[in-house]
Symmetry: C2
Subunit: 218 residues, 2 copies
C-alpha cells in the first residue's frame, strides 16, 4: 500500500531495453523563461458533477487569454484516442489514469500547464500520476458533497447509477478516496463557477511564475 501523496510512489521499470540518450534536451528552466511561466500538471480530482470539466475548460480559457501555454486533458480527447482501447472495468480505469498521468507529465515537461479533469477516485492512481511528474504535480480537489453532485446530475448518471444501470459508479457503488494533502481545494458546492475559476487562476499565477534567474544550460 502506498501512502497518499507519497513522493516515493514508484513507476514500474520499463520493459524495453536499448534506451540511450542521444544529446541534451531543452531544459525546463529555459522553457519557463521563454514562456513566462513554469510548466506543470494541475490534476483536478473529484466526484462526477463536482465541476472538474467546467473548471478545467474555463481555466484553460482564462490562462490562454493571459498568454499561458495550457491544455486540458479530459475524457473527450483522451477516451476517444489514446485510451480508446480501454473500457470502465477496474483495471482499465487504473490504466486510463496511469496513461493520463504519463501524458500530463510529458506536457508539463514541454513547458505547458496541463489541466486534467478525471474523477481519478483512487489515491494510489493519483500517487502514480504524481510520481510521473516529480515536482510539477499539483493535486486539486474539486470538492462538492455527494448530495450536491447527485442533485446537480447534469448527465443523469447518478440516477442511472442508483437504478443499477451503471456499475461501479464513484460515490454510489464504488469509493471516492478523498485527497489527504492536495495542493489546493476548490469548494464548488456553494461557490459560483466564476469564483472557483478565479481561485484557480490566482493559484496558477502565484505558483507557476517563471523563475527569473538566467536559464541554466539545457
Amino acid at each position: 500500500m502506498k501512502d497518499d501523496n507519497s513522493p516515493a510512489a514508484k513507476r514500474p521499470a520499463p520493459k524495453s531495453e536499448n534506451l540511450y540518450s542521444v544529446q541534451s534536451r531543452i531544459g525546463r528552466q529555459a522553457r519557463a523563461v521563454q514562456n513566462g511561466h513554469a510548466g506543470g500538471v494541475l490534476w483536478l480530482t473529484g466526484l462526477s458533477a463536482s465541476g472538474k470539466s467546467t473548471l478545467a475548460l474555463a481555466l484553460e480559457q482564462r490562462l490562454f487569454e493571459r498568454g499561458y501555454q495550457t491544455y486540458v486533458l479530459d475524457g473527450d480527447n483522451v477516451r476517444q484516442g489514446l485510451n480508446s482501447d480501454l473500457g470502465f472495468a477496474p483495471q482499465d480505469r487504473n490504466e486510463n489514469i496511469r496513461r493520463v498521468g504519463e501524458v500530463a507529465a510529458l506536457f508539463a515537461d514541454s513547458g505547458s500547464i496541463v489541466i486534467t479533469a478525471f474523477i481519478s477516485p483512487y489515491r494510489a492512481d493519483r500517487d502514480l500520476a504524481r510520481a510521473a511528474a516529480p515536482g510539477l504535480f499539483h493535486e486539486v480537489h474539486v470538492d462538492a458533497s455527494l448530495a450536491a453532485c447527485e442533485e446537480r446530475d447534469p448527465k443523469g448518471l447518478y440516477s442511472r447509477a442508483r437504478r443499477g444501470e451503471i456499475p461501479e459508479f464513484t460515490g454510489i457503488s464504488a469509493p471516492y478516496e478523498e485527497p489527504t494533502a492536495p495542493e489546493l481545494v476548490v469548494k464548488t458546492e456553494n461557490a459560483s463557477v466564476a469564483d472557483s475559476v478565479e481561485q484557480l487562476v490566482e493559484y496558477v499565477v502565484e505558483r507557476f511564475a517563471a523563475d527569473t534567474r538566467e536559464p541554466q544550460a539545457a
Copy 2:
C-alpha cells in the same frame, strides 16, 4: 489492408461511453495566432541510425531558439513512462506507435510542433498515427541506406542483430516499409547534420506559418 498515407485509416471506436462535450475549447486557429505558428506532428521515420533522434533534438533546439512551441517524443521519454508496460514483441511495437501517434495528436492540438523519432517501420502504424491528427500530420522519411546505417551503428545494435542477439531488428530480421508519399524526405547518407536540420527548419518555417486571418471563435 490500408493504403499508405490513406486519410481514411480509421481509429477504432472508443470502448467507453458517457462522453459529453461540456463547453467549447480553444480553437487551433486561436492557438496558432497566439503562438505565431500552427501546431502539428513531424513524424520522423527511418532505420535505426538513420539520424532520427539527432535531427529531432537538433530541430527542437533550432525551433525553440526561434520562439516556437516544440517538443520531442522519442524512446527516452516515452518508453520509460507512458509505454513502460510495453516490450518489443510485435503487438507491443504496434501499440507503442499507436500511443505515440495519439499523444502526438494531443500535442499538435495544443498548438505545439511535436517531433517524433521512432523507427515506425510499418505503413499501417504510420497511417494510424496520421489518422489521429487529421490535417496536422507530416511524415518525414529520414532516409539512409541500410548499408550506411549499419556502418554507422553507433550503439552496436546492428552487430548484435547480425549475431542474432536482437530478434526482429528492423532492416536485418524485420522489414522496413518505406513511406510511399511522405511530406518530406531528408537524405542523411551524404549530408551533414547541419544541412539536414536546415532542410527541416525551412520546411517548418514554410509549412507551419500561422494563418494571419482573424482567429475564429473557439
